[in-house]
Structure formats: C-alpha cells, structure tokens
Amino acid sequence: MTKRRKAVALISGGLDSMLAARVILDQGCHVEGLNFFTGFCVEGHTHAIRQREHKPIKRNNALWVAGELGIKLNFVDVVEEYKHVLIHPKHGYGANLNPCLDCKSFMVRKGYEWMRANEFDFLITGEVIGQRPMSQRRGTMPVIARESGAGDRLVRPLCAKHLAPTLPEREGWIDRDKLYAFNGRSRKPQIALAAKYDFKDYAQPAGGCCFLTDKQYSAKLRDLWRTRHSRDYALDDIMLLKVGRHLRPRPHFKLIIAREQGESNFLEGYRYQFTHLRTISHPGPLALVDGEVDTDDLRLAARLLARFSKGRLANTVHVQIAGHNQASWTMEVAPLTPSAIPGHWYL
C-alpha cells in the first residue's frame, strides 16, 4: 500500500495559498496549514479594533481558509524571532520597511522546521513567479528554497511547471502533470481555478496583508526607532502604531489619538501604562501620551486633543489628564486651530 504523504502548507488567508493547498489535497496527500503571527498582519488586529470595519463578518481569514479546506491550522507566534528579520534584512527593504524576501525565506524556514519536527514530507506555498516584485520573481524562488533550507522539498503548486521538478514530484508523491504554470501579476488564472473549486467569499488577493508595506505605518515605525535610539520593539509598540492618529508636536513626546470608538476602547487597555487624556466637557476621543512630559507639554497635548473633540469650535474645553499612577486632574484649554497644527506633526 502506498504511503499517504504529508504536506504542510503556509496559509496566509489569501487565495493563492488556499489554492495551493487544495491542489495538493486533490492529489490525496494529508495537508495541514501553518500561519505565522509576526505582529504586522493587517487582518485580524486592525479589523478587530476598528468598529467601522465590523462588516462583513469578522473572521481570521487563514482559519476560514482552513475551515473551507477541512484542514488543521497551526498558529505560530514568531513575534520575537521576526525582529531579526525586520531589523537586519539580508536582502534589504522594499518600497517601505517591508523585508519581503527575507520574510518569505524566514517563513519557509520556520515551515520547514515544523515539517521536520512533525514528520511531514514536504512543504507547499502559494507563490507564483512574477506575482510580487520583490519576493516572487523567478530569480528569488531558488534563493528562498536555498536560504530556508527547504531545498527541493519546497513545492509551489501554482507555478511548479515553470520550475525544476522537486523531490515530491520526482519520487511520485505528487503528479507534476496536475500542478500549474501560473506566471505574472494577472489574477485571472487564480480566479478561474477558484471558480473551478467553487471557492467563494475568499479574501481579496494580492498585497496589503502586511503593515510593513504601508508608507504611513513605516514612517511611524521609523519615528519610533529614531526617538528611542534603538530599533528594538515590543509587541505593544507595533500594535499601537496601527491605531489612531499619531502626532509628534515636540521631539520628546507624541500623542496617539483614537479616530473612533473602537480605537478608544482599544487604547483604554493601555491607560495604566501611559499618561492619557480625555475631554470631559464635550464628547471626544481618548489620547495616550508617549514620552516624558511637563505641564506645558500636557497643556499643548490637551489643546491638540480638544481640536479632535466635539468641542473643537468651543472657546474652551475641559480635558481630564491621568498619569501613570492614575491620579487625575482637569485642564481648561482652548482648542488649537487647524492652522496651529503643522503638517509635520502628523506621523
């Protein structure tokens, strides 16, 4: 009796990895998924924070994919290990702080380690040659296979016919004729294959899954590193960069001002770690102060916050300020006018 081979699939929650896993499932292999949490994922956290994004139904897309395929999905927290990838990318950054090629090699390496530890036979990804400008090019495919250590146990079912046969193909564990030859940035082949499998309601494909590709987020991360004189970070640091307006009115402090109620609720969870402000005479958002501040700084922060409250046109607004020890006091301030807020304060 032929041994049923076991493959581990890197599942991002997008269409390509979903299709790749399905193609291998169709060949009779046992497939399980892996999903990595770096802290920079766009889906999940951001959708969970912001109230206006509560529709359509909130879900973890990688888990949804696993549910549709009927495979187990193993989540792996790589927040600590990922720091090295981000801070010291061997292949550099893309347009922003996205170390895409290093990131892909890292994830394939983690997947390969998991494969060996769990006695699986090979690893699959949804990569397509030419799909992404930095990490999914013909020249980078062998780099990822080599640097990850996965070598020819790494199968890319969607573009396999453009690549040399891998070990699972050569050994007959999977049939190369039933793999694909997708190429380039067009999504049409993937969408056609999704239709063949009757996949519906999948996450919109291509890009936007990582905050590090975002120009504004990268600017905030650079600001964090610059002002702390260190490129290290904690999970809370990178989480807070996803939330609210960030304004740095003085070099030694910045304000994080919630943009809507969901963000205010989220920032409430940090009120014991940061001096925070809220307007009490008028409805308004919560704001955290990141940095060491004196009374003049707090007055400026209060005036700035008042500008983003319902009292923005009032003569004065009462702002409650609470320090780390939760002792609170109130300031009566005039909201800043728009012209008093220089554009460079916005990070």
Binding site: F37, K58, L63, L73, D77
Partner: protein, 88 residues
C-alpha cells in the same frame, strides 16, 4: 465532573486569542474543560471553527457584550498525551 481550566484572553485581538487557546489545549488532557474569556468579537467565528477542525467540543458560548466566554471540551486529537504532566 471534568477538571476545568480557565484562560483569560480578554483584550487580546485576533489571532492572539486563538494562539493562547491552541497553546493551552496542547498542555491539557483529553476530556478536560477549558473556559476561555475573550473580548474580540472575531472569536465568535474563529473559536467554533478552530474547535471543529481539531475535533474539540464547544460546549457553551456565553455572551454579555463585550465579554464572550467559551467552554471547550478538549478532544484527544490535539491534547497532551495522557502521560504528560498536568500544568500547575
């Protein structure tokens, strides 16, 4: 009555509640119960899906916005081996 453990995943956002549940369940014996408290509404979809994929039984879901409490009976498919030491 099955032994019951609790897990506080309040204020954690997706996918951290799932990661915490996954990691805890891997230390638990089959047949034991895990009561997980969450505040991320996405867990309403995710925890039942995750339980289904691993064969764990979701016995009860309590909802009192924003609090969500899930009671999971751990199956043998994902749990610690029966000779594994129980967590303290």
């Amino acid at each position: 009555m099955s032994p019951r453990q609790t897990l506080d995943a309040r204020h954690l956002l997706c996918p951290l509640p799932l990661i915490r549940v996954q990691d805890r369940v891997q230390t638990m014996l089959a047949g034991t119960l895990l009561e997980v408290s969450c505040t991320d509404p996405g867990t309403l979809h995710d925890i039942p899906t995750w339980c289904r994929l691993y064969g764990h039984r979701l016995l009860h879901t309590y909802r009192n916005d924003p609090l969500l409490v899930f009671t999971i009976e751990v199956s043998g498919a994902h749990a610690a081996p029966t000779d594994a030491p129980a967590p303290g």
